[in-house]
């Protein structure tokens, strides 16, 4: 009897041990991952409210003063306005043109349609802003669109347009055709059908695209950096690099407050979409 108990114990102990070690390992892993991802962000949370922000993360001497300075800094708030102009402009551009094109491509079999779609997607993935910056810059100079927000919108819009069409077409494809056919029987013309039936039914797709386009443009640094020169036209992503103190040091009070203000819209939008539709769904939204 004793021996039986002994064997039971000796087999239980390593199992318990293993379990304990596993738990330790798991906890350690999670702690490290959290440390890696959280520590850099802490600065964004603390520094904006710190009376003497430095590059070190520390418990702040709480103040809103940095935001006051921000609102008084010429061009800071205006640059957020520029970001909004670029983001909304691009969004409207790709929504309107993308909806029209994807609807027609979904409904009418143009010969070589699928090849066209894949070619466009391929093009947009290989002709990136970085790879094509030289000719893009020259093209805008030649077209007189250098230093114009319209130019930035056109470039950013054309870059994401293939993806927009590709995704929207999928949404349009999933709309049962009998809705449009009934509208058609009662005399509705194609544009009207698109507006009355296609657009409302593809709304989840259009919303996805809208959010996605805004996020893309909002964070884009390179294109406005290359194409815009006048400070009053420059968006926040670029302007943030112009905040220096008289001593030539980065103005941390300004930068931290501005960073927070600049980040909140996209974070909010992202988590709004998340709670509304779930992340799986929109996993590919940002790149």
């Amino acid at each position: 009897m004793n021996s039986m108990q002994a064997t039971a114990d000796s087999s239980a102990r390593p199992a318990l041990m293993r379990h304990f070690l596993g738990l330790m390992g798991k906890t350690l892993f999670i702690a490290l991952v959290l440390a890696f991802f959280v520590i850099p962000v802490l600065w964004l949370v603390f520094a904006p409210f710190d009376a003497h922000p430095s590059l070190t993360i520390k418990a702040p001497q709480f103040t809103f003063h940095n935001f006051e300075v921000l609102f008084q800094t010429p061009g800071a708030i205006a640059s957020l306005g520029n970001s909004i102009i670029l983001a909304l402009g691009t969004m409207i551009l790709v929504l309107v043109l993308g909806a029209l094109a994807s609807y027609a491509l979904s409904r009418v079999k143009i010969p070589g349609r699928d090849i066209l779609l894949y070619t466009l997607l391929l093009l947009s993935s290989i002709i990136t802003g970085t790879a094509a910056m030289v000719p893009t810059f020259l093209l805008m100079v030649k077209l007189g669109l250098i230093d114009s927000q319209l130019g930035v919108i056109l470039i950013l819009g054309s870059g994401i347009m293939p993806t927009v069409i590709f995704i929207l077409k999928d949404f349009m494809d999933s709309i049962p055709k009998s809705y449009e056919e009934s509208a058609r029987i009662y005399g509705a013309k194609p544009l009207r059908i698109l507006w009355d039936v296609g657009v409302p039914l593809a709304r989840p797709g259009l919303a996805t695209i809208a959010v996605w386009a805004v996020v893309q443009v909002w964070g884009n640094f390179l294109v406005p950096y290359i194409l815009l020169q006048t400070p009053s036209r420059t968006p926040a992503a670029v302007v943030i690099y112009t905040f220096y103190t008289e001593g030539g040091q980065p103005n941390l009070a300004l930068i931290s407050a501005f960073s927070l203000l600049f980040s909140i819209p996209v974070i909010a939008m992202y988590f709004f979409v998340n709670t509304r539709y779930g992340f799986r769904f929109y996993g590919g939204i940002k790149s």
Partner: protein, 319 residues
């Protein structure tokens, strides 16, 4: 222009699993349920195609031509570019600065994407299948946050973290006044890019792991398989195609990212000058537009190869 490329396809793949299949419906033979007709359809498509043609395709073709000239941003060659044939390409391919840049780019992609983002992303996704829901949401939130924050901001966060005098890292580790960005520029941007991009791999793998039938996991557990055996025999065969997709997408994005410029500007002494940064400095800072275009084209060609491999995998998966 963005790095989105086939991330469309990826998001679609994620989405398709969610979408409730709508009931199939009858329609006219060419599907033209709205009575568009070919003419009107063309008119609907034309504006979008025109935009793409002028602002996306044309610049790429122009790159091809510019790469064959000695075009410069300023000076005599700006007004009178001369056709120099494949000189630029020969120069590029033999220039040690280009070769250095190409090597750094490979290192960057390998380190931050193929190893950093994939491995970390998978490890997190896998670990998250074995923890409580609350822990999972918290971890996922922060990983995603790194991804969502605009790049101009995240680079500042890392400048603060890595700063020589007051940086958090030095304070935390007591490493004195180590100038991380100057002493370890490549390591720094590799870790930075891993930090930024892990979220995508995590999302993709976590959706892939969710699709592994739980019964198979249980039966392997009952058969006494340890964690490693389970990974190898049950999980990996299920997510093999996701691994491929993920690797190629993040390779493409990492290859084209310009963000490290905001951390190190390619320096010190070209030690972190990955291709996008090289092109920028060569063409727009130093003004060698022709030479820059030649490098651009090389970059587009590499992109093309990666994208074609991806399309091929997609096609194989479909059939």
């Amino acid at each position: 222009m963005s790095e989105i490329d086939a991330d469309a396809a990826a998001s679609q793949k994620l989405r398709k699993s969610e979408r409730v299949k709508r009931k199939g419906n009858r329609t006219s033979e060419d599907g033209d349920s709205a009575g568009l007709g070919k003419g009107r359809a063309a008119a609907f498509v034309a504006p979008a195609m025109l935009l793409i043609a002028i602002f996306l395709v044309f610049p790429a073709l122009w790159t091809l031509y510019l790469g064959l000239t000695n075009y410069r941003l300023t000076g005599f060659a700006a007004t009178h570019p001369r056709f120099v044939g494949i000189d630029n390409y020969v120069n590029a391919l033999t220039d040690s600065r280009f070769l250095n840049s190409l090597g750094l780019t490979l290192l960057f992609v390998l380190g931050s994407a193929v190893i950093g983002q994939s491995v970390l992303g998978f490890a997190i996704a896998w670990m998250m299948t074995r923890v409580r829901k609350g822990v999972k949401s918290v971890v996922e939130f922060f990983v995603l946050l790194a991804w969502i924050v605009p790049s101009s901001v995240s680079t500042f966060l890392w400048l603060a973290l890595l700063d020589r005098n007051n940086g958090t890292l030095n304070t935390l580790f007591g490493t004195g006044t180590t100038a991380w960005l100057l002493q370890f520029p490549m390591q720094s941007i590799i870790v930075f890019n891993t930090w930024v991009g892990t979220a995508f791999s995590m999302l993709l793998f976590s959706s892939a792991l969710g699709a592994v039938p739980p019964t198979q996991l249980e039966s392997s557990k009952i058969a006494g398989a340890g964690a490693w055996a389970q990974l190898r025999d049950v999980i990996f065969p299920h997510i093999r195609s996701h691994v491929l997709t993920n690797t190629i997408l993040i390779t493409l994005w990492t290859f084209n990212t310009f963000t490290p410029y905001l951390l190190t500007a390619g320096g010190p002494d070209h030690r972190s000058e990955i291709l996008p940064v090289y092109i920028y400095r060569l063409a727009l800072s130093e003004g060698s537009l022709g030479q820059g275009s030649a490098v651009s084209l090389i970059m587009i060609l590499i992109n093309l190869v990666i994208a074609l491999v991806y399309l091929r995998i997609l096609r194989e998966k479909k059939s």
